[in-house]
Each structure stands twice: as structure tokens, then as C-alpha cells.
Symmetry: C2
């Protein structure tokens, strides 16, 4: 069974989500919670701390607990730092979450002179012909991601002739038999202005936007793909798991 303080937190959070309690409004005080829900002051305190630690409100000393000005609606979570999560394509993830994906290709052409990108101060270069493909990716008709990929045609010949509905990552592995050794990613943020020429997102007010740069490198240290994508910051959240290097007593097994 759910602890009582969580059950009551959920009631308050529901009121915040539904807009009954607005950003800046005061959340019920400890004493109000005690008298409304007939709970102990310990439970009331836990409840306020829970609402605060989950990011819906912040306590200001001597003044009370106030609803935060955050977009607390359901956000999509994408895991970074895991090849198995990357393998799952954009469409596949959305379908699993109950959305209808749609992709519109707004640019697809071959650059003959290669491409380079800076990630964490390092140059990643793809030599020779590169497929540039820019796609607008929608969930239930809302633009979620503006994605540009540059794919090595030397490593993936004729990939430009495949349907762009594929998971490119899976295709590198399955069709081109490339062994991925590394995915380098950096995440930065920006504010997207409705008046910006880059506003494919058609937002009517400013929103935060994630900028994801990545490079996929294979065992021969050649770069397979460089990506620069923009994700709606009010719709996405990124999750990262740290790997417990020193807890794994691994040894190399050459027979495998």
C-alpha cells in the first residue's frame, strides 16, 4: 500500500496539474493539511517535502510552500548513455508510449565533401560523401523533434535509397554490419522564440529547447553518423544511468 503522505501529495499535485493551484499560489500549510486530512504533523510535513522534492513547489522559509512555475505536465523520457536505448528508434519509442508518430523529411541530399562536428571540444569528421537528412518528427501532430543527421555513405553505401522510416541505428548494425564502439553526446539548452526563423515548432510563446549533438563511432574509429537535433524542452526529459565501474568484477574472456 502507498504511504499516506504520498497519497495526499498526489491529491495536491493533481490540483497543481489541473491548474486549480497556479504557479505562485500557496500550497496548503502543514496545519491546513492536518485539519483537512486528519493526519499527524509528521505526515503533513512529509507530504509538503514530497511535493517540494518532486519539483512542484518550493518552500520559502517563513512564508510557506509555493507552486513552482514549471511545465509539470507529462514529459517524455529518453535515456542517454545507453546503446540499447539508442537502438530503439524515435517512432518505436513513441508508439510504445501510445502516440502516433509522423515524420516529414524537409531536406534529403548528398554532400560530396564530408562534414565535421565539434563534440566536447573534439572534431568528429566524416570524409567523402555524406547523406544529409533533416526530418521533422511529430507525436500526435505536435512537432517534438527537429532532427538533422549526416550519415557516411562510405560506411553505409546506398543508405539514401532506404525508407527513412527505418531505425538508422539498427540499420548500421544489421544491414551494414558495423560494430558501434562509442556514442558521444552533448546536451545544451536554449530558449526558442516564437519569432525565430528556426521556429518549425510553431510555438506561440517562448519555450526551452534541448540541443542534442551526437557522433556515432564504429570500431575502426570511423564516424558513421553525426546528428544535431532540437527537442521541445517542455515535452522531454533525459535520463542517465551511471554505470558502477568498480562494482563489476569483470575479466576479459577471449573464448567468447
Amino acid at each position: 500500500m502507498q504511504p499516506k503522505f504520498i497519497a495526499i501529495s498526489e491529491i495536491i499535485i493533481k490540483r497543481i496539474k489541473e491548474g486549480e493551484l497556479m504557479p505562485g499560489d500557496k500550497v496548503p500549510s502543514e496545519n491546513e493539511l492536518i485539519s483537512t486530512y486528519k493526519i499527524s504533523n509528521t505526515t503533513a510535513r512529509k507530504c509538503l517535502l514530497n511535493i517540494e522534492s518532486r519539483g512542484y513547489a518550493r518552500r520559502i522559509k517563513g512564508k510557506g510552500t509555493f507552486v513552482l512555475n514549471r511545465t509539470v505536465e507529462h514529459q517524455l523520457v529518453r535515456t542517454l548513455g545507453s546503446i540499447s536505448s539508442t537502438r530503439k528508434g524515435f517512432n518505436e519509442s513513441l508508439i510504445a508510449e501510445g502516440y502516433t508518430p509522423k515524420n516529414i523529411i524537409i531536406e534529403k541530399n548528398i554532400l560530396n565533401d564530408g562534414i565535421s562536428s565539434d563534440i566536447m571540444g573534439k572534431h568528429y569528421i566524416i570524409d567523402g560523401a555524406v547523406l544529409k537528412i533533416r526530418q521533422l518528427r511529430y507525436a500526435d501532430d505536435i512537432l517534438m523533434k527537429d532532427e538533422t543527421r549526416y550519415i557516411s555513405l562510405k560506411l553505409c553505401p546506398k543508405i539514401d535509397r532506404l525508407s527513412s522510416e527505418i531505425s538508422y541505428f539498427k540499420t548500421y548494425e544489421a544491414q551494414y554490419k558495423l560494430k558501434i564502439s562509442d556514442i558521444k553526446q552533448t546536451l545544451s539548452v536554449d530558449i526558442l522564440d516564437p519569432s525565430s526563423a528556426l521556429n518549425n515548432f510553431e510555438v506561440e510563446k517562448q519555450i526551452p529547447i534541448f540541443v542534442l549533438d551526437s557522433a556515432i563511432v564504429c570500431e575502426s574509429e570511423q564516424v558513421i553518423e553525426i546528428e544535431r537535433s532540437f527537442y521541445r524542452g517542455d515535452k522531454y526529459k533525459f535520463a542517465i544511468n551511471a554505470h558502477p565501474e568498480y562494482n563489476l568484477n569483470y575479466s576479459f574472456n577471449p573464448d567468447k
Copy 2:
């Protein structure tokens, strides 16, 4: 030696960084680059693609390449998804980068009733007494991070009596002999408004802000620490490396 297209890109990027070319301005065209630098059209094209792929400009078909409205000044990079990077404290990282760190504790007290946090839809709960410590963390007198940690006093008795200049993470390992098995983190973004009551950052215009939630879990699956921190989005960038699970032919070695 640096390829010629990179050298010329750097010249243009320098003009963007120094504000000679402003957001929305047109970057020199292919033909202008050819006549200014006496280069081939291949080199000129590579140069524009390089500036675009590094995020300083974007090409708009049939119109030219325009400087992006991004804060392209030097950003601090922090690596997520790596325990060894987490081990390095906030101060230590800044000093290595040539900054002078300063920390101001604005709240430090003991909560007797535990705390809980939602990360990736999972509840992380610390039972019993918890040290809550909120610190404002500066680099060269600019507030970079507003950090709140909740630390289990059951797992780390008397940690409230230690100097807060320590790296807490190292202390969990070295002093309390805790084996960290997992760090779960999520990164979301928001826009910080100068008028916000939460504006410890004292910004005069809107800035994007990273919200980092994390939970540090030890081998017994008990939660050592829950953190919620705000990082200036115009000053930070996060890097993530994906680990190549299937390239490691590991096997468990029980003798180790």
C-alpha cells in the same frame, strides 16, 4: 596541420563570438568566401557546413546561412552517466578549469521524517533523519548552480558536522565505506524569469535553466542521497558517453 576549411571556419566563428556577426546576420556566402580567401568552392562549402554543424549558424534554403540565436560563449561541460566524473566535486572541477569557486550555504538542517523523490517514475525514499543542505555555488562570483541535497543520516551518521567544502560523493565512499551501485539522473529544462521568486541567479533577462534530479543508491539498495539542482543553462553543457555493452566480452570472475 589543420584542414583549410577548419581554419577559415574558425575565423568566421571568431567574428560570431565577438559579436561582429550577430544572431540573424548572414554569414559570408560561398562566393564571398571564395573571393576573400582564394579557396575552391569545395573548401568554401565545407567551411559553411562546418559552421552550421557546430551550431553557430543555420542554412536556410535559397536564402543563405544565418547566425543562430544561441549563447555560443564558452560553456562548462559536465559528464553525466559516469561515477568517476561524479566523484570529482563541484569545486575541484572549477579549479581545474581556472575558476575560483565559492559556496554559500543558505539552508542546512535536519529533517527527521525522511524524504522522497520521483526519478523516471520511480520513488526514491530516504527513511529516518536526513540532512538537507542547500548551497549556492559560484564561479568567479557568478552563481552557476543552486544545489539542494538530502543525505541519509542513517547511512552517513554525523555527516552534518563535516565541512561542506568536502566532495560528498568521495566522503560516502572513503569515510562511510558505502559502495555506490547506481546513480539515477534526469535532466529537464525550464526558463528562468528575472522576476521569479526563485531567481537566486540574479539574471536580468530570461535564461534557460537545467534541472538535475538525482538519486545515489548503494549496494544494499538504500538511497544515500537525493539531489535537486538548478544549473545555468547558458553556462553549462552536459556530456554523455554511451557504453558499448556488446563490444565487451566480459565474464564474471568470482575470484576477483
